[in-house]
């Protein structure tokens, strides 16, 4: 069920972040789906309706009539996935940083592949990152796209950002290797 799927997605997000940073209110809409509601920093009350069909609807509540939603946008489930990816991409590294804070000795870092890097336009396996430094490359961020758990055959391009998890020394070592 789409509503359940939406709820599941919110749940894993909360786990990934370690905690929900925003207090989200959940209201059941029988036969239709679920409504999520929260107040942003500007004080706008934001509503998101997740329909059973998989569609989403985004709305704001005005101060003049708090009962009435002012419709903003509607998303099909594919569009909603795209929006979630766009909004989520730059924050992936941040979330890993949160995650590693809970494991002593483990840290996360971001390493950019510069155009002059020896590994630009080569595959990830060529860096032999794990063997040489013990650090793991858990994701490659390319613009708005996130390649999670990249394999050794993953091609690296100039401008890519590697999300790395490992010891502080291991990450520094990998940075040295990649940016040398």
């Amino acid at each position: 069920m789409a509503a359940a799927r939406a709820r599941g997605r919110a749940g894993t997000d909360a786990q990934l972040m370690g905690m929900m940073r925003v207090d989200v209110n959940e209201v059941l809409l029988p036969g239709v789906g679920l409504r999520y509601e929260f107040v942003n920093r500007d004080g706008d009350r934001v509503g998101i309706v997740a329909r059973r069909s998989g569609d989403f609807e985004l709305m704001v509540y005005t101060a003049e009539d708090p009962d009435e939603a002012r419709p903003v946008l509607r998303f099909t489930s594919e569009e909603a996935d795209t929006v979630a990816e766009i909004l989520g991409a730059p924050r992936i590294a941040e979330r890993f940083a949160d995650l590693t804070r809970e494991v002593p000795g483990l840290s996360a870092g971001q390493i950019q592949i510069d155009p002059g890097s020896p590994y630009a336009d080569r595959v990830l396996g060529d860096t032999r990152a794990r063997t040489r430094t013990g650090a793991s490359i858990v994701a490659v961020v390319r613009g708005e796209e996130v390649i999670a758990s990249p394999g050794p055959a993953q091609l690296l391009r100039p401008g890519d950002v590697l999300v790395v998890v490992g010891t502080r020394e291991g990450i520094a070592g990998l940075q040295h290797i990649v940016q040398d």
Binding site: M1, V27, V32, G43, E57, D67, E68, A69
Partner: protein
């Protein structure tokens, strides 16, 4: 095999005409149900264009239409939503029942209908059309409004109440005595409770048996089992519709979602045929004398639903405008009122005519009134200068 040319031709023309009417209704964001009923009136006895060859198919199709309507309704139902709705909106649901069944019962008494007729009329005025209302709220982009959960909860409770009401009515209409009717209701309620707990505990087993991976298999098996159960239910006078509703209830989660997907087109076809058949069964010459009564009943029915919405909204601490929106949203009556009359229709010719006119009036006026309900504040005060990032209408 002999090809029934006349049947194919008539049926084809009818369906094409219904499609045209449906498109017209959707253009004005209205439900096509009243137009289907009008089409039925025109094609039925005493109508302008009788269709003798298609008649038999339409009558059979109508029986299947009711079963599919209830099956899909059962599939959409979840225990969590029902219990949550009942817990929060118990008082509103009671007010809904009392306020809206009363006008029908009173009208039945005033018209001198028998017990079955009076009960059927009370049921027809009580139940809002969940199909029309849910769709309308989505179209008007009001799903996010704060009064909407109360409205949707009332609809779910009403639909569930029908599971008890339909067998009662079916037995009474079949000429059963009070204790037989009561027994039927007990059987139906037990079966519903059994189906609900069953789906709760062993839902995955039921789902596995009734929901094979292949869509074609799924359609044939589910449809076949439903027809058998519906027939058995009818045999013990519990109404085929309730049997179908039970099958719908016993499927949950992913199985229900898949079943909804494969059944939707079939339901659309046969439900249209059902509304058509109901229109056909009413003689337009019977309809005209019932019009004043239907108009009066529609006015009262709209007012009582408005009061129900006002009360339900008030309990959720909704403002004046939101309470009016909730009330107007509930006005539309539709498929269930028609199903009820389909069960009891043979009792009295006037009943079918009255309810057909009543549903046609409210299925059109309800959505129009909902549209007119106050939405935007009359004057929008300017917001603070520092909140420039938020959308405002100047």
């Amino acid at each position: 095999m002999h090809t029934p040319t006349a049947l194919l031709l008539e049926l084809g023309i009818i369906l094409a005409a219904l499609s045209g009417l449906g498109a017209l209704a959707r253009r004005f964001a209205l439900s096509p149900v009243p137009l289907y009923l009008v089409a039925g009136l025109a094609l039925g006895e005493g109508g302008i264009a009788p269709v003798p060859a298609a008649r038999e198919f339409v009558d059979t199709g109508a029986a299947i239409g009711v079963i599919l309507l209830l099956l899909v309704l059962g599939l959409e139902f979840t225990v969590r939503e029902f219990t949550a709705g009942l817990r929060r909106h118990r008082a509103s649901a009671a007010v809904d029942l009392v306020l809206n069944a009363a006008p029908g019962a009173a009208a039945g008494w005033l018209l001198g209908l028998d017990t079955v007729g009076t009960m059927a009329l009370a049921g027809a005025t009580y139940v809002s059309s969940s199909g029309i209302v849910a769709r309308l709220l989505g179209d008007l982009r009001r799903l996010g409004n704060r009064e909407t959960p109360a409205v949707l909860s009332l609809l779910v409770v009403e639909d569930f109440a029908m599971a008890g009401f339909l067998p009662l009515l079916a037995v009474m209409a079949a000429g059963g005595t009070w204790w037989q009717a009561l027994l039927a209701v007990v059987v139906a309620i037990t079966a519903v409770a059994g189906a609900v707990t069953g789906s709760y505990r062993w839902g995955h087993h039921v789902g596995r048996v009734l929901s094979p991976p292949d869509p074609e298999q799924l359609l044939l098996r589910l449809f076949g089992v439903t027809l058998v159960i519906a027939a058995l239910a009818e045999l013990i006078h519990v109404s085929a519709a309730v049997g179908a509703f039970l099958i719908g209830l016993s499927l949950t989660g992913e199985a229900a979602e898949r079943a909804r997907d494969v059944l939707a087109p079939l339901r659309d076809l046969f439900a249209a045929v059902f509304f058509l058949a109901l229109g056909m069964s009413v003689d337009p010459t019977d309809l005209v004398p019932m019009l004043p009564a239907a108009v009066a009943l529609a006015v009262v029915g709209a007012a009582t639903k408005l009061a129900t919405g006002w009360y339900a909204g008030g309990r959720d601490r909704i403002g004046r405008r939101g309470r009016l929106r909730a009330g107007t949203a509930l006005i539309a009556r539709g498929e269930f009122s028609v199903v009820i009359i389909g069960l009891a229709g043979s009792a009295d010719q006037r009943l079918g005519a009255l309810v057909t006119a009543y549903v046609m009036l409210l299925a059109v006026c309800g959505p129009v009134l909902t549209r007119l309900a106050p939405t935007r504040p009359t004057a929008i005060p300017r917001r603070h200068a520092n909140s420039s990032g938020s959308p405002t209408i100047e």
